[in-house]
């Protein structure tokens, strides 16, 4: 026990005296939490619209006014030719072209039917889909206005109408930040846990100081515990800083209990630290450790459901997420923070993470002995 205490003292000194590590621990969370939630907003607005108006009629002007007044679109180009509008798309000055054919007004009033053409830059499929859907619904509304202008609808509507009422639970304002911030907290915890542990141990290998420890009576488990405990404490510290920022900047307070979140975070950190340890047993130098942990982390994060929902992944990717500790925690923290889920709701995830912790640490320790033997 005494040995462990001395080792811990050494590790804490080493960490606290290294400005690089301190910067990683304190600046990373602040930057990520302050910038990422703002950037990661999929709500589509400011769509750049080019209008090719061949009609120049009262109606075409009304329609354009209605579109620009909606707030979703910015009219960047208004001309009388489609070719001109297309050049704007090529230069990335427009995302969407609305072409109003000649005699649009005449056809609508006289023939009861008029056509409009939309052309969307669909390189970003999601944006194209949403942008064109917004524009179509505005056109649809405008169509309704034109109709009421010409026909006096009888009180009893002759047209069958199914009204769709939608409501959004847990996040009625559709605030994307409440959704992103908890996920980013998980990201931070994972990076601190796995990267720093892996690099820290490998650094001792690279510089050769691990030899010095190996010739002392310090036992293997002392050494490993001495490495893990400081990062476990630091991880929880970073996590708490993150929560403080989430509260101060975004006003996010978990709907569920802090106890549930911290219990899960504590166990999760054990799993992640085990992963870091495992990486360090395979890597020979810091460069390798960085690359390996970066590589694994990238896969974990991308397949963790932070940016895109796991539900829409294909079957094989869904299977992979079952072996991804990050996806469990992202799932859990969102459930607890947004929906107030309790321990009973997350017991499956908790047990899985305990499993991960046992496997990673066990594997790492086994691998460690072999190398030193």
């Amino acid at each position: 026990m005494r040995t462990l205490r001395f080792l811990l003292e050494k590790e804490f000194r080493q960490i606290l005296r290294d400005p690089a590590i301190l910067r990683i621990i304190f600046i990373m969370p602040v930057i990520q939490l302050l910038i990422l939630p703002w950037a990661a907003d999929y709500e589509i607005k400011n769509i750049k619209l080019a209008v090719a108006d061949h009609d120049h009629s009262e109606y075409s002007r009304q329609l354009i006014n209605k579109v620009t007044a909606s707030g979703y679109f910015i009219l960047t180009n208004y001309s009388g030719s489609y070719k001109n509008a297309m050049t704007q798309v090529e230069h990335d000055n427009a995302d969407l072209i609305l072409e109003i054919p000649a005699s649009f007004e005449k056809n609508l009033v006289k023939e009861d039917e008029a056509k409009l053409f939309l052309a969307v830059n669909a390189i970003n499929g999601v944006k194209a889909g949403l942008g064109s859907a917004y524009l179509q619904s505005i056109i649809h509304d405008y169509n309704g206005e034109v109709r009421t202008e010409w026909i006096q609808f009888p009180r009893f509507s002759p047209e069958t109408n199914i009204e769709v009422v939608s409501s959004n639970w847990f996040n009625p304002l559709m605030n994307y930040k409440i959704f992103m911030v908890p996920g980013i907290l998980v990201l931070l915890l994972t990076m601190v846990g796995a990267n720093l542990t892996a690099i820290n141990i490998v650094k001792e290998k690279e510089i050769g100081t691990i030899e010095q420890i190996n010739v002392t009576p310090v036992k293997k488990y002392h050494f490993i515990l001495g490495k893990l405990i400081p990062f476990w404490v630091l991880g929880l510290l970073v996590f708490s800083i993150g929560f403080a920022i989430a509260w101060l900047v975004y006003g996010i307070v978990p709907a569920g209990s802090f106890f549930t979140i911290y219990l899960f975070a504590a166990v999760y950190l054990l799993a992640v630290l085990g992963l870091g340890l495992l990486i360090s047993t395979y890597a020979n130098n810091q460069q390798q450790a960085m690359l390996i942990s970066f590589f694994i982390m990238m896969i974990f994060v991308l397949l963790g459901g932070l940016y895109t929902s796991i539900d829409s992944m294909p079957g094989w990717a869904k299977m992979l997420t079952k072996f991804n500790p990050v996806s469990y925690f992202i799932d859990v923290i969102r459930m607890v923070v947004l929906k107030g889920s309790g321990l009973a709701d997350i017991k499956f995830q908790l047990l899985s993470i305990i499993g991960f912790a046992v496997v990673f640490n066990g594997w790492a320790v086994l691998n460690y002995r072999k190398r030193s033997g």
């Binding site: 690089a20 999929y42 390189i123 109408n161 199914i162 769709v164 890597a283 690359l291 969102r334």
Partner: protein, 368 residues
């Protein structure tokens, strides 16, 4: 010149003899393309929904059957009370509940008007939005059908054309992004770290006392990473054309030229970082925070830049990857020529000279 090549050869040995690093450097783009290409989609497919049908009549059943039959939704749960919605949402598997009020058919027949309620779990606003949109579209189709496609007067038809990416494949958007990310990682981070490693281990001293010019020593370290990048660009392009089906519409020569330009920008950034840091951990930290995160967040390939608040939009202009991303999109997907992207090219070239000048200046000071 012979000296220079022997230095380059030494660097190649460094890389080739570290099998793990080699493997990751060359495997990274392949894994990224596969993940981005096949796993990350926002598509809705067979999403599980819950139904609370209070009328249980002909119309409500046929509407539910219609929704169930679409490729977007699968009815996974039939509920018998409002309270259950909260419970299934908390379990987290089902994200949309459809509630049909009592007398649905009667309302339709007698009043020509009925209501459907969609309740979405909006903890993920994106998913909630998309699911609600799709469900609404199906219900509208259903409504159209039961009105027997009666033609209404004064109808505006819209005809839509999806340019460049008619099937709305996600791959079109991220292939350019993955290229930028991989190049940045290989060139900037790896170059910076290898140079700093020599400093940290003290072998830099040994090389600096050789008859080679100090600047040449550093450039020799960058050459192998330039070659690795060219291989990576090649494998990314091959994968995206033959596996993902993303075409290269513009000129391949122009694309290659722009990619090498961006590689040079990344390399000069790597040199700059290496001249500013003393330990590998610092070098890694700077490359991650100052380069990697901004590239992922602000270059526009994960999140559209125009949605961001103004300060971030301004900052995004100093992220080199943003310009490269725009160039690749134009050349590869739109088939644009040099005339359309000369401005972006000029900006990248300017950045390269700026970083290189700064790196060389820092480098000289260190030797004095």
């Amino acid at each position: 010149m012979k000296q220079f090549f022997s230095f380059v050869k030494k660097e190649f040995y460094h890389i080739f003899r570290d099998k793990r690093t080699m493997f990751i450097l060359l495997g990274m783009p392949i894994v990224q393309i596969i993940i981005f290409g096949f796993a990350l989609t926002n598509e809705v497919k067979n999403s599980g929904i819950a139904v609370f049908d209070q009328s249980q009549d002909v119309a409500s059943r046929s509407l539910i059957a219609e929704i169930d039959a679409s490729s977007y939704f699968d009815v996974k749960k039939v509920l018998s009370s409002y309270k259950e919605i909260d419970k299934i949402f908390k379990e987290g598997k089902i994200k949309l509940a459809i509630v049909l009020p009592p007398h649905f058919n009667e309302d339709l027949l007698h009043f020509n008007k009925a209501q459907v309620q969609l309740i979405a779990d909006a903890s993920d606003p994106n998913v909630a939005n998309t699911l609600t949109n799709y469900a609404t579209a199906i219900i509208m189709d259903y409504q159209q059908r039961i009105t027997n496609d009666r033609k209404l007067p004064y109808t505006i038809d819209t005809e839509m054309k999806m340019l460049y990416n008619p099937e709305l494949k996600g791959a079109y958007n991220f292939v350019p992004g993955v290229m930028a990310m991989v190049l940045l990682l290989v060139c900037t981070m790896m170059t910076a770290i290898t140079i700093v490693k020599e400093k940290e281990l003290g072998t830099m001293e040994v090389m600096l006392v050789s008859p080679m010019k100090p600047l040449m020593v550093v450039i020799a370290k960058a050459v192998p990473y330039l070659m690795l990048s060219v291989i990576n660009i090649g494998s990314i392009l091959l994968l995206s054309v033959f596996v993902l089906g993303v075409p290269i519409k513009g000129s391949l020569t122009l694309l290659a030229f722009e990619s090498i330009l961006f590689t040079l920008v990344s390399l000069s950034l790597g040199l700059l970082i290496s001249s500013a840091s003393e330990s590998q951990q610092t070098a890694m930290f700077i490359s991650l925070v100052a380069l990697f995160l901004p590239t992922v967040m602000l270059s526009g390939f994960m999140f559209p830049v125009e949605n961001m608040p103004l300060p971030l939009r301004v900052v995004s202009n100093i992220v080199p990857a943003k310009w490269y991303y725009t160039i690749v999109k134009s050349v590869m997907l739109k088939g644009s020529g040099f005339l359309i992207i000369w401005k972006e090219t000029l900006i990248l070239a300017g950045m390269m000279f700026f970083f290189l000048a700064l790196a060389i200046k820092n480098f000289k000071i260190r030797l004095a």
